[in-house]
């Protein structure tokens, strides 16, 4: 059931108890976890934090901890599946779910005792009404048996008449039941067809902190990072991002009004969050401007930097702005001050000429100490790179801990190592995109586009992780749309496969919706993958919390694809 008063129904319930936190492995979940941890530290609520990467992990963690804990808080996992059936908990376990995955499973919505959803009901949910899906079986059977006992007590003459009446009524009832069931199946199919994301979990928990008036700038910054993660990984529409940014902006101004007091100004070491209408060049403040332009999705796709023509246009662009190549290629911090001062406006003016209307994006930046300035987008990329780093001997939970640490202000060296990893990841993505487009690796299979990364591709290990592969997928689709001539191909969704585990012989398959300006980011591949896998009995593992990402045995790849083609055409 949905929680209306988050303070009374969630926080005050767990405040005196011990809680188990089961947190999924994405940046939004990490930020939400940090906010909740900070609140728990304030109020000395004992908790245990366990990272989970998929449904199996969730099941194991639950089994291990169910004896010791009564209250479980699930962050970014658990809303889109019938949780009670999956975990089989005891009757006194209570689950608080703060998840961005939609659609929320109907059983979770209508269970009153064990499942509490920390989700805003204004979020366009479209949950079917109770009567359309659930029906009390007792009324019907009571009616039947009542009629039959009546029939039994009547004498035989009247019995025939009554029998006919009873039989007719029973036939009517059965027909009504079949119709109801058919309608129910239709409603459920429509409801569960598309997968999408709702308000960020970090923003939800920040609002809890705000209601308790225990919010701090650190928590606000984490909420902003959580929201930016949803935008960077293309989980929410641009409209929703802008609306949520406006909400965050109100909180930022509320926290910032202390800065303006001339007499008691804050020390330079204090954290300052500011609204920035900044450039969409990833990591440009921690890299050189040239590298950043060459490795950001937006600029690469519009200039088409994988072609010679594109390179020339880039040189023209830089010349147009009057930026000398020597300046542009050195580290951003060492660029001439005179160039840095008006950089954003100069770039915006020039980019309008070259067709890049949205080179600037609304975001937030943080500033503490003399050297440390970070944009929310930079932090998201750094933490994502740490979370999915493919170094040897590092398990998923090691990476989770490193990424969680990098979000604290005291662990700047972690953050800087994350930024370095993110740079490598971005370069790898751009090179892979360039090679895929130049060698025409993207094939149109009819209802969708398909691309397979061969095993020998450089940096293919990086793409065995779901978030990195999804990012590559989105960049590739954008690049393809910009470079393809066929108008029809531009409206197709993309499925991408990359080798995941060479010893076990599996590939990871990701499906994303078609690229368009007004896309509502609704993904139907979750259900499609399930159906295709069933119909061909391929060996698949639907372990990820995002149903559009699955693991598949390499040998079953072709029959799986064929099934998908027949399913979707």
């Amino acid at each position: 059931m949905f929680i209306t008063d988050i303070r009374k129904e969630f926080y005050e319930v767990v405040a005196n108890q011990r809680v188990a936190l089961l947190v999924a492995s994405d940046i939004d979940a990490l930020c939400a976890c940090k906010i909740l941890q900070a609140l728990f530290h304030c109020d000395q609520v004992q908790y245990t934090l366990v990272p989970v990467t998929g449904w199996q992990d969730l099941g194991t963690a639950f089994l291990e901890h169910k004896e010791q804990f009564q209250y479980f808080v699930l962050i970014n996992c658990g809303a889109n599946v019938d949780l009670l059936e999956m975990l089989q908990p005891d009757d006194d376990s209570v689950f608080f779910i703060c998840d961005t995955h939609r659609p929320v499973d109907v059983v979770n919505v209508y269970n009153d005792t064990q499942i509490k959803l920390l989700i805003k009901q204004e979020d366009d949910l479209g949950v079917p009404s109770y009567d359309d899906i659930f029906r009390d079986e007792d009324d019907e059977e009571g009616g039947d048996s009542g009629n039959e006992s009546e029939d039994g007590s009547e004498p035989s003459g009247k019995r025939r008449r009554f029998d006919e009446g009873a039989v007719e009524r029973r036939i009517d009832r059965q027909r009504a039941k079949r119709e109801w069931e058919a309608r129910r199946r239709e409603i459920l199919f429509e409801y569960e067809q598309y997968e999408y994301h709702g308000t960020s979990a970090a923003v939800m928990l920040f609002e809890l902190a705000w209601v308790l008036t225990k919010d701090t700038k650190d928590m606000l910054w984490w909420a902003i990072i959580g929201l930016t993660d949803q935008w960077v990984h293309d989980k929410i529409t641009h409209m929703k991002y802008v609306t949520d940014i406006a909400t965050m902006q109100r909180h930022v101004s509320r926290h910032n009004h202390r800065n303006e007091d001339e007499e008691n100004s804050l020390s330079i070491d204090c954290m300052r969050i500011s609204f920035e209408y900044d450039l969409r060049l990833t990591l440009y403040q921690h890299w050189s401007l040239y590298e950043s332009i060459c490795n950001s999705c937006y600029t690469t796709c519009i200039f088409k930097l994988w072609t010679l023509n594109g390179q020339k246009k880039l040189q023209e662009f830089l010349a147009d702005m009057g930026l000398p190549l020597k300046q542009v290629r050195q580290k951003f911090n060492s660029m001439d001050m005179s160039i840095k001062e008006n950089l954003k406006d100069v770039i915006e003016e020039s980019s309008n000429k070259y067709g890049m209307k949205d080179i600037r994006i609304q975001t937030f930046g943080v500033h503490f100490g003399f050297k440390n300035r970070f944009l929310a987008i930079d932090m998201v990329h750094a933490t994502a790179a740490l979370l999915e780093s493919t170094e040897k001997d590092e398990s998923n939970s090691d990476n989770f801990i490193k990424a969680l640490d990098s979000l604290s202000r005291g662990n700047l060296d972690r953050l800087h190592s994350g930024i370095d990893l993110a740079k490598k990841k971005l370069i790898a993505i751009q090179q892979t995109v360039a090679s895929c487009i130049c060698t025409n690796l993207i094939l149109s299979q009819g209802p969708f586009l398909y691309c397979y990364l061969m095993e020998g591709t450089p940096d293919v290990k990086l793409f065995s992780r779901p978030m990195a592969l999804t990012l590559l997928c989105k960049y590739l689709l954008k690049a393809f749309v910009h470079s393809a001539r066929n108008k029809r191909c531009k409206l197709l969704p993309l499925i991408m496969a990359a080798p995941k585990d060479v010893e076990k012989g599996t590939v990871i398959v990701v499906g994303i919706p078609p690229e368009s300006e007004t896309s509502d980011k609704k993904n139907f591949f979750g259900r499609a993958f399930e159906k295709a896998s069933e119909s061909t009995s391929s060996r698949t593992l639907h372990d990820n919390f995002d149903t559009s990402i699955i693991e598949l045995k390499t040998e079953d790849r072709s029959k799986f694809l064929d099934a998908l083609i027949t399913l979707l055409s």
Binding site: R18, Q37, A38, F40, H41, Q44, V45, Q46, Y47, T48, L49, V50, P51, E64, H65, E67, Q68, S395, S397, D398, F400, I401, S408, G410
Partner: protein, 161 residues
């Protein structure tokens, strides 16, 4: 050392019996060697003693079996005596009520601390009877006094944010 001592003994007897004065420097040399070896051994034994004393502060009053395996019987006895004198000292503090000074080696900042588990340690029981499963890379928020032992042993790590 025994070999040196035997040789010295024979030489001394010889010197006394035959009056051979030229053996005296070699006797003196061997004697100096013996004294030096004795000093080394006592330094080693004293160092072991200091470490055993530190063990009491690190592990508490019950030593794990693998540590006790490496101690000889006299050292175990010494340890028991040390334990007893420390316990009677602690009992005498705080106006007859007793104070456990092996807790809180650094001034505590808060009642509960956040710890991260560095290795799988299995189940761990805290004061109110609840059991916590310490699995690698899980984080917990626990009362400080229960965690100190495990932090010293290296199973848990204090996370400062």
């Amino acid at each position: 050392m025994e070999a040196l001592y035997e040789q010295n003994q024979t030489d001394v007897n010889e010197a006394k019996a035959d009056g051979r004065a030229e053996l005296i420097p070699s006797i003196k040399l061997r004697h100096c060697c013996l004294l030096r070896n004795q000093r080394c051994l006592t330094a080693y034994l004293y160092d072991r003693l200091l470490r055993i004393r530190a063990l009491r502060w690190e592990y508490g009053s019950v030593l794990p079996a693998n540590v006790r395996f490496h101690m000889c019987a006299e050292e175990v006895q010494w340890f028991t005596h040390y334990k007893k004198s420390l316990a009677s000292f602690m009992r005498s503090l705080g106006g007859g009520e007793g104070l456990d000074i092996t807790q809180d080696m650094k001034p505590p900042k808060s009642l509960y601390i956040e710890v991260r588990c560095l290795k799988d340690h299995g189940e761990f029981e805290i004061d109110d009877g609840t059991v916590i499963l310490l699995k690698k890379n899980s984080q917990h928020f626990l009362p400080r006094w229960k965690c100190e032992q495990l932090i010293r042993q290296g199973v848990l790590e204090h996370v400062m944010s």
